[in-house]
């Protein structure tokens, strides 16, 4: 194995880890600020100027709190739960292409940790494992509210994964590849998928909200019914990991949404640049898109009230899946015509 490649990937992984955590930390701050603005308030403003040190203060608080394990909890699974949640949230970012190639020290550096040829399936794999963190944590707490949260999380996850998968297949059919790099490259410039597949985007976006347990789909942690849902019994940094994992997965899902539908790092007029300028600009554009989607997800949270559970199931199975399937079939027919299957 090439040592330089190893170092390069290692640096990228560490950088990605820090960036994910940093963005997740400041997402909590920004979420509170946004909630305050929407409700005509000020929000956190005591820790540092404009309260920008708030995430650090929160982190210190989380570490200082008593780490409590209930007497009848399954101890090892109780610890494993938040670990799985955080791990799966972080690992997804490894296949995201962050920008065009960078040229440094006479080497071509690909801004992507691993380019699987099954990239999008990897995303679905990690998402489907992510629910185990919640399920194991909820069950191991030995608390009925936690168990309800866990059960809700699992049924919600399975229901929305179907519609999400079908709408992702539509995009795969259009780009002809499962790899995220190819999907991004097929949307060069302003040739974004959103202009061809707005319905598909809507379905995927709603499902992404449900998969990350964000409002209006935050039934697993629904405070008004289940106290804290799956993390009722958690405290200290274990709770912190659960809450943090939600923000990390929000960051990653914003990245995936912008890759699949908004051209990833592509931007109009990108042919005028080349080399490292292009790489830097593309990374900036990609992060701008990610921040925009994080903003939209938060904006939705502070606007729309939570679903009732039967409404959630109704929306998933009877509305989104039929729409996604019809959209898939229509796309297939159009592609078949385009490729000239029916000509001879």
């Amino acid at each position: 194995m090439d040592t330089a490649l190893l170092i390069e990937k290692l640096v990228l992984v560490v950088l990605l880890f820090l960036v994910s955590l940093g963005i997740a930390a400041y997402s909590t701050y920004f979420e509170r600020k946004l909630a305050a603005w929407i409700q005509d308030r000020v929000g956190p403003d005591r820790a540092g100027p404009f309260g920008i040190l708030q995430p650090i203060a929160d982190g210190v608080k989380m570490f200082m709190k008593e780490d409590f394990t209930p007497k009848n909890a399954d101890r090892w699974l109780f610890i494993l739960g938040p670990g799985i949640a955080m791990f799966t949230a972080l690992i997804t970012s490894s296949i995201v292409p962050w920008g065009t190639d960078l040229y440094l020290f006479g080497r071509t550096i690909v801004l992507q940790v691993a380019d699987f040829n099954i990239g999008i399936l990897f995303v679905f794999g990690t998402i489907s494992i992510g629910v185990y963190g919640i399920m194991i944590g909820g069950w191991a707490s030995n608390n009925k509210y936690s168990l309800y949260g866990a059960i809700r999380a699992s049924s919600q996850m399975i229901s929305y994964e179907l519609a999400m998968g079908i709408s992702a297949i539509t995009i795969i059919m259009m780009s002809g590849s499962l790899g995220l790099t190819d999907i991004v490259k097929s949307q060069h410039g302003m040739n974004w998928n959103i202009f061809y597949q707005p319905v598909c985007f809507l379905v995927f976006f709603i499902c992404a909200l449900a998969e990350t347990n964000r409002a209006p789909f935050d039934l697993p942690e629904c405070e008004s019914e289940l106290i804290g849902g799956y993390h009722t019994e958690y405290s200290s940094m274990k709770l912190g990991l659960f809450l943090f994992a939600e923000y990390v997965s929000m960051f990653v899902s914003a990245a995936i949404i912008s890759i699949l539908f908004f051209g990833g790092y592509n931007f109009p007029g990108m042919d005028h640049f080349s080399g490292n300028t292009l790489a830097l600009l593309s990374v900036l554009v990609f992060f701008a898109k990610i921040f925009f989607f994080i903003f939209v997800i938060m904006w939705i949270r502070w606007t729309i009230p939570r679903f009732r559970f039967d409404q959630l199931m109704h929306l998933g199975w009877k509305v989104l899946i039929p729409i996604a399937i019809i959209n898939l079939m229509l796309t297939g027919i159009v592609i078949a015509f385009h490729e000239g299957w029916f000509l001879n």
Partner: protein, 180 residues
């Protein structure tokens, strides 16, 4: 019946149209409203630095007034305790002795006068009931304590200091107040 305002709306349960069943226009409407609020002025008062102006009739912590010569007005008649709906006021009356004329205005005075601030509902009925212009509510806030007993305020807290008079002239005028 004719309605008094024009805010009345007739409720109907007609079936939703297709556009309404999509929910998306309504969701977008809601999102637009919250978006507008992001750019609105916030109404927060940053408390320790900025303080709200009290209304002149604000009913806060009580004060037992002295007259112009610094004598206590209270004659321990007990009308405030009778008027108090929360039964927060207790007092012990005592007769004024010779040589105490510079301390108490009337022949009878309150040897002890206690208000339990946890019971008090700050209705101001004691102030209304007082015939001697002795007890008033002021715009001062009762501070928080850690012990329930600390909320029972006695004369050492309630009677105004001679050198540091508390101005009540701005309060609602019932016609029985003096200058100070």
């Amino acid at each position: 019946m004719e309605s008094l305002t024009n805010r009345k709306r007739v409720v109907s349960d007609k079936p939703m149209t297709f556009l309404e069943k999509l929910y998306l226009p309504a969701i977008w409407g809601g999102m637009f409203i919250t978006l507008k609020h992001i750019f609105k002025k916030n109404h927060t008062i940053k408390y320790p630095e900025e303080q709200r102006v009290f209304a002149p009739v604000y009913r806060g912590m009580h004060v037992l007034k002295r007259d112009e010569e610094g004598r206590e007005n209270c004659t321990a008649c007990g009308l405030c305790a009778v008027a108090c709906p929360a039964e927060a006021i207790t007092m012990v009356a005592e007769e004024r002795k010779k040589g105490e004329e510079h301390l108490y205005r009337e022949e009878k005075y309150a040897a002890s006068y206690e208000i339990n601030m946890l019971r008090c509902i700050f209705c101001g009925l004691c102030e209304e009931a007082c015939p001697k212009e002795a007890v008033f509510l002021t715009d001062r806030i009762v501070p928080t304590e850690f012990d329930r007993n600390d909320f029972i305020y006695d004369k050492s807290v309630l009677v105004e200091p001679i050198n540091d008079r508390i101005d009540i002239t701005k309060r609602q005028n019932t016609g029985k107040r003096g200058v100070i």
